[in-house]
Symmetry: C2
Subunit: 221 residues, 2 copies
């Protein structure tokens, strides 16, 4: 009797994705371009944060942005108004980006003129955590109004990130969000993550994060 | 030459899912049990809303809850404290519920003693919109801090919902969320949806929504 063959499609997809990611990471490191992946729920403030970051860091860094969305290009237009190169990836329904999409995005940016490429991932706390995009830094934004229990409920996302940004701290007076409780929950999954409370709106905490990022970029390049 | 056969796996999955959903919807209608699917981003306030809803409506309706999560059972424990039957569905990584999971959930609730079963879906604005769960009412919660641009960015979710709840209106004074702008964006996709601004925390708008729901349940049963 002939043997029954199983093909684990998900494992094939993730493995192809990882191979391409490893290539991207190496190629960009050789060219001294730092790739930074930012993930979050919808509406946690990725675009607002990236805009504030660009305004602060544009005098020091040549920044490009890969904008991921299921539909629309409203975020890409907001970033474009900051006069940095932007490319829009539209998945048309898919709930995450993958490394082949990032390759296409990088090919349409002139990376020889960039120090840093920021990926604004799809708004989703689940699937994006499974896909290595070749980034040198994995990060996520958790906004205060979402609540401090999210690390318990979306553990993979909080496990794979080296930097966790707690955004919208200007909402703290109206919220029962407890930063020490969030940190305690994160530490059970991820002892190494750096955690940054901040507000892109008021500017609170942005300086601390930017200083950390500049040091972190030197460490890779 | 033999013909090349294509199998669209996604279409197979969605079609099997739809068949089971149609059966669930019919069987529950016969038993006068109303099935209500609630979707949203992570942290939009589904559990807080459901808790407030149960406290308000428990004297009038026999309510059960199917709690969907990627991991953990913290929400199910919060709902259980309200003394209603709850079943926890844990997907272990999957980013949406499907109708087979709902069938399993219904089998473990004593539905002959219930008028209403609430499904708290996985926190995700993308994939859950594709999966018919057999519910009589499709709804979603958008919280004020997420921003009023979400209908543009997640159009399928806003298209498939009959009721759209704008939660956390107590955050409006700190936010630039514009309710008429949200409604205008929703109307481009969905002319029929009923839209309810409310706050589960202050109780604002809960009465209007509950009255609408009771009428809507009679219309199906």
């Amino acid at each position: 009797m002939s043997e029954l063959h199983f093909i684990d499609l998900k494992e094939c997809i993730l493995s192809d994705n990882r191979n391409e990611a490893v290539l991207i990471r190496g190629e960009l490191a050789e060219k001294h371009v730092f790739l930074w992946n930012i993930m979050s729920s919808p509406g946690a403030g990725k675009t607002t944060f990236i805009t504030a970051f660009i305004r602060k860091m544009k005098p020091k860094l040549r920044i490009g942005v890969i904008e991921g969305d299921v539909e629309s290009q409203v975020d890409a237009e907001i970033i474009k108004a900051e006069n940095v190169p932007v490319v829009q990836l539209r998945t048309g329904g898919d709930c995450h980006l993958d490394s082949a999409m990032i390759r296409a995005g990088l090919n349409s940016l002139d990376i020889s003129n960039l120090d840093l490429v920021i990926i604004e991932n799809i708004g989703n706390l689940i699937c994006p955590a499974e896909f290595d995009l070749g980034a040198h830094l994995q990060s996520m934004i958790l906004s205060v109004p979402e609540g401090d229990d999210k690390a318990i409920k979306y553990p993979l996302m909080f496990s794979v990130c080296e930097a966790i940004l707690i955004s919208k701290v200007d909402y703290l007076p109206l919220s029962d969000f407890n930063i020490p409780r969030l940190i305690e929950n994160v530490r059970k999954l991820n002892s190494a993550a750096s955690i940054f409370p901040l507000s892109a709106k008021t500017g609170e905490g942005m300086g601390e994060f930017c200083s950390w990022l500049v040091k972190r970029m030197k460490f890779t390049a």
